[in-house]
Amino acid sequence: MSISRRGFLGTATLAAGVAAGTGRARAGAGKDRFPGYAGSMGLLHDTTLCVGCRACEIACARENHKPRPTARLGDRSVFGRLRRISDKLYTVVNRYIKARGKKPAVYRKHQCMHCQEPCCASVCFVRAFTKTPEGPVLYDPSVCVGCRYCVNACPYHALAYEYDNPMSPTVQRCTMCYPRIKEGKSPACADACPMGAIVFGKRADLVKLARRRMAKYPGRYVDHLFGEHEYGGTSWLTLAGVSFDKLGLPTGCSHRPLPELTSGFLSIVPLVITIYPGLLLGFYSFTRRKERLAERARVEAAEAARAAAEEAAAARAADQKKLSEARQKKAVDLAVAKALATRDSEEGAGRSGGGEEGRS
């Protein structure tokens, strides 16, 4: 028992150590709401201004050393189908609603949203993603194992993977032109947009700008700024004249950051490590105790049975003895009576001899 107790304490200490070790690392995804880095940058995409020229796509490809999109600037044929971002296309403009009469077509540019509390960062088991104080979410390919949990978990389908690279594939996505931001420049797409549909600035200012536009032209915009609160907010903000689900974005998103959904569960893990050994050893000792009691009951029952059997045997022996004694006595009595009777008759017949017989 002393060994198992020592073992239990050891495990408990280990668990406490694990909890202490992970607690610090998880502080970023903990219970306290992270309001985003103060003064971080963002981009506002006003879809009511976008005309689908795709200058942003071409500028993005050039900036990120990607092959130039085959469809030329202004080529409308690409809008026949919904295109997705890929490892060669960090950003893509789609036409979601065709022009009808006087109503213009509706386009939306898609790319990594650069979440305030990124889902990709929390699901990465090598911590390859970092939310920088400047706003961009950065990815470090040098540690990436290629599990693609980030690509699978992103609610905006904004990450891509180099499936055609057999030896060193990495995750590919918009970097919000982090190097350009560090140089004090705007991201390439914002610079390239001829319509002013992409505005670069401090995220807090962009929220105010979007609100001013919505207040000034209430008929032009739906009353929602996508990215202000979605899953804790994103650095890319989107304004639209139609419901966002028509623009391929999820609606009814929680305002709580996605990482919170996992952190609650993971906090139970140290508890399992701490509680289980004691609980299971408890179960085990119940089982052992039951077995021991059953064993003892068995032994006692066997002893009792043996004692009873012995007693019964003794009683039977005594009975037998008594019986045999009685029988013997009876036999003696009978013999005596017989002898007496013989003597009497002999005496009666003629009193000669026979005295010996009667005495025996």
Partner: protein
Amino acid sequence: MSEQSHAAPRPLLSPFNVVAALLLLLGGCAAAYRFAAGLGPSTNLDHLNPWGLWIGFDVMTGVALAAGGFTISSAVYLFGMREYQPLVRPAILTGFLGYFLVVVGLLVDLGQPWRLPYPFLVQSGPTSALFEIALCVALYLTTLFVEISPAAFEWLGLKRWRRLVHSMTMALTIFGLILSTMHQSTLGAMYLITPSRLHPLWYSAHIPVHFFVSAVAAGISMVVLESALSHRALSDRVEVSGERLDEMTVGLAKAGAVVLGVYLAIKVVALSLDDEWALLLTPYGHWYLFELLGFVLLPMLGYIVGHRERRPTLIRISAGVTVAGVVLNRLNVSMFAYNWRLPAADRYWPHPYEIAVSVALVTFGVVMFRWIASRMPILSEHPDWRGEH
């Protein structure tokens, strides 16, 4: 017994061996192509569906189906159900092979598999459910290896090692149960972060518990199936009589019925808490009901009737249905009900090469089980160690 197998060695060119060799060759070629050409040409994975059959089946399902080891060893060593002792070793061997194949499958799927130790050696991401799973699976695979090693030590005659490992049985069982509780449920927890991508009928805040309880059901059912199959296929190595096996099968049916009953109940609880009854009337709802009624309720009833009327065949069929149901559930969560909002053209369906690798992994597990069980004391006790457990 060993004399017997020496006297009549199995022919190398048996139909089983030929089919197994073909399947292994096919899978091996597919895996080689994957490393030569990359994931793109060899799979149907894309940026919208980065996880396919190799994660959904090889990992998600493989881990669940390998749950028999911890289920039976806990029952026997912790809860004192010693009459099931003969099932422990085959269950642990199945578990060990299962986890081994999970890791092999993962290595095929990972973009840069040689970096698998990075989370422990280079940079850790403890906020990820995957980090916990990686840690648990690494530790549990080691635990299972140690737990099955006495069979090899007995086979090789290494008595001191056998005695040493045997003295750790309790610690290993408790460690295995802790690790299994954690990673079986955490596999479900991996989907907690995807509320917008997984269909609400399968998505639940309780999904970790759903995964754990269904894994226990899968573990029990796998033991029922695996003991029946090995009893038939490796009859010359089996020590337990057919009657004794039927006896144990009838006993396991009771456990299976209880676990499936609990699983059904917690699924209904999740349905009620999220108030998703209306969704049952949609096509996804029908599919959900098909899974829940056909592969949980039905085998549960089969287990109950089989236990009460002592019908081992009915119990084995119910075990097969339960296992199929857990496979279906894991595939639903990871594939069929995942990304359900995407248009049909963007949905994932496994590539033939992906199927070939998965089939080869299962085949490899069966071949390895046969190979080990025909040599080492798995289905029977070693004469030197009779009755010592």
